[in-house]
């Protein structure tokens, strides 16, 4: 199962990146909608996606 889970993890990281591009391409400046102090795109690209990427990679390491 290891190669399958590893591939899933890599795909998840790529999906995280693609979502950022999709978000910035949405019409009517949806990405700029403010949620609290930050815009939606800043929450995603600056906070959520990097944190999710770190967590996603976390589970994939070999046990020492």
């Amino acid at each position: 199962m290891r190669p399958v889970t590893r591939k899933a993890s890599a795909v998840f990281l790529l999906v995280l990146l693609m979502l950022f591009l999709v978000l910035t391409s949405l019409p009517r400046d949806v990405a700029q909608v403010r949620v609290g102090p930050l815009s939606l795109v800043w929450w995603y690209g600056g906070v959520l996606a990097p944190a999710l990427a770190a967590f996603a990679a976390l589970g994939r390491g070999a046990r020492e």
Binding site: R6, F20, G45
Partner: protein, 501 residues
């Protein structure tokens, strides 16, 4: 701990981590994409590593080792250029900074146990940046989130009354970026010492280049649309409360970052291929063994913390030091932020030095870690290539001499990383095909040739940076075509091999 430190040090060389706040300040939201890629690329590469089969002892082709060496040499060059820029900004001769950094890098090359100090150097760099951030937070009285809110509510970026550009005047050399100072509203510029201003003034439909000699205390008014060349030696004062030339119209406009067209989206995808591919080249399958979970945790935490701190730095810079926008943003200008934001000049200068220490420490750490990566890619040579003193003396001397001339360190880093992506990414995507040494060599040469041709064509024809057409986008991010070319060559070479069998 040491393995994670080596990954962070190799990836986060000064030209790369300083590019994140630079791009964020320059483009707002547009700077998030490279930052996000810088976080994800090494993590993706570490997750892709797999233990090879016992009989899988194929040596890495020479073209791959040579490309890795080229990457490392170019990244060292980019680091030295940045150190030279910082030295110039601090008023020290450019070559002093370059010579000091190159000598430090060489000393670490000569020291066999240099890898042990990499975590310490990273700690020094991290703490130094943190000290500056705490000082900026204390000065503004705002958390990073509060600072972002304050920035987005700014109706305009204006010269603060306490700015040194207003109170005592500064040398226009310090506003030297990539652009002239373009004024959006009338602005009275006053000479702090006898000087001659080089201006480009709009007269009706004409634009006139005009030199304006000024005695100390004399003023000259620039109108909307006029430009002022950031000439070295011209010491001038600006008006408090007037818009900073080159700054975005409002805080909200800065945060928006502008819309993405087709070409811009293609360039973004190309940047993704370049950085993700470079991550694979430096930390991915060529290094074989799966990364331990502890290593990934530390790398992930380190990248997250770095990205968070660099975002905060960018936001504090825009909030407390809007003068940084004058003349365009370059990485070395970020060192000015504490000096501009803090009222007390000695404290500001001390913090500038702390940031210089951060850059120096991360440069030293990156040279050690990059050489170690190169040694790991070439197991056939027992890793000798990473510690050959003669070879690295030559690299440091040539890079130091080349650094005497300014080039954009981020563009240079991308050139290095793109070459790595072009050669190593096809190998990682088609590992079975790349197991045949001849096929991998052909694919590597084809990818590198396509990469080189596009890069040169873009520079010669002036199509790249910023790209205005589809061809320009491919020239700006040559890995976009070089990687498919490498993949195609690998596939064809494998098919040819099967038929002849």
């Amino acid at each position: 701990m040491r393995a994670a430190g080596a990954v962070l040090a190799a990836w986060l060389g000064p030209a790369i981590w300083l590019a994140v706040p630079t791009l964020l300040v320059a483009h707002g939201t547009g700077g998030l994409w490279p930052g996000l890629l810088i976080v994800v690329a090494p993590l993706l590469a570490l997750t892709l590593r797999a233990r090879p089969a016992a009989d899988d002892t194929v040596a890495v082709p020479l073209v791959h080792v040579a490309t890795h060496f080229l990457m490392v040499a170019l990244l060292i060059w980019a680091g030295l250029v940045l150190v030279g820029d910082l030295a110039s900004r601090l008023g020290v001769p450019r070559w002093h900074g370059i010579a000091l950094a190159a000598a430090g890098g060489l000393l670490l090359t000569a020291w066999r146990g240099a890898e042990r100090v990499v975590p310490l150097l990273l700690l020094v760099a991290g703490v130094s940046v943190l000290i500056s951030l705490v000082a900026l937070s204390a000065t503004t009285g705002l958390s990073p989130l509060g600072a972002w809110r304050a920035v987005s509510e700014r109706p305009a970026f204006v010269f603060p009354a306490a700015s040194r550009w207003v109170t005592e005047g500064r040398d226009l050399r310090l506003a030297q970026g990539q652009q002239p100072l373009r004024f959006d509203e009338a602005h009275r510029v006053t000479a702090a010492a006898e000087t001659t201003l080089r201006t480009r003034i709009r007269e009706g439909r004409q634009t006139l280049d005009r030199e304006v000699p000024l005695a100390a205390g004399q003023s000259f008014t620039l109108r909307p649309g006029d430009q002022l060349e950031p000439t070295a030696g011209a010491r001038v004062k600006f008006e408090a409360g007037r818009r900073v030339p080159g700054a975005p119209a409002t805080g909200l406009a800065w945060g928006d970052g502008g819309s993405q067209g087709l070409v811009a989206t293609l360039v973004s995808v190309g940047l993704g291929v370049t950085l993700l591919g470079a991550g694979v080249a430096l930390f991915g399958p060529p290094l074989a063994d799966p990364a331990p979970r502890g290593e990934i945790v530390l790398v992930g935490a380190g990248l997250l913390a770095t990205f968070g701190a660099l975002q905060a730095w960018a936001v504090y810079a825009v909030l407390a030091a809007p003068e940084i926008f004058m003349g365009g943003i370059t990485p070395d200008r970020l060192i000015d932020v504490p000096g501009l934001a803090l009222g007390a000049r000695p404290t500001g200068m001390r913090l500038q030095l702390v940031l210089v220490i951060a850059v120096g420490a991360s440069f030293m750490a990156s040279t050690v870690a990059l050489r170690a990566r190169l040694a790991a890619v070439d197991p056939a040579g027992d890793g000798e290539i990473g510690s050959d003193l003669g070879l690295w003396t030559m690299v440091f001397v040539v890079a130091a001499l080349a650094s005497l001339w300014h080039v954009d360190p981020w563009a240079l880093s991308l050139t290095a990383l793109g070459a790595g992506a072009a050669v190593f990414l096809p190998r990682a995507l088609l590992p079975d095909a790349a197991a045949r040494r001849e096929a991998a060599t052909v694919a590597g040469v084809v990818a590198l040739a396509v990469y080189g041709v596009l890069l040169l064509f873009g520079r010669v024809a002036g199509l790249a940076r910023p790209a205005g057409s589809l061809l320009g986008a491919f020239c700006e991010q040559p890995a976009l075509l070089a990687v498919p070319a490498g993949l195609g060559a690998l596939w064809l070479a494998t098919r040819g091999g099967r038929r002849t069998r």
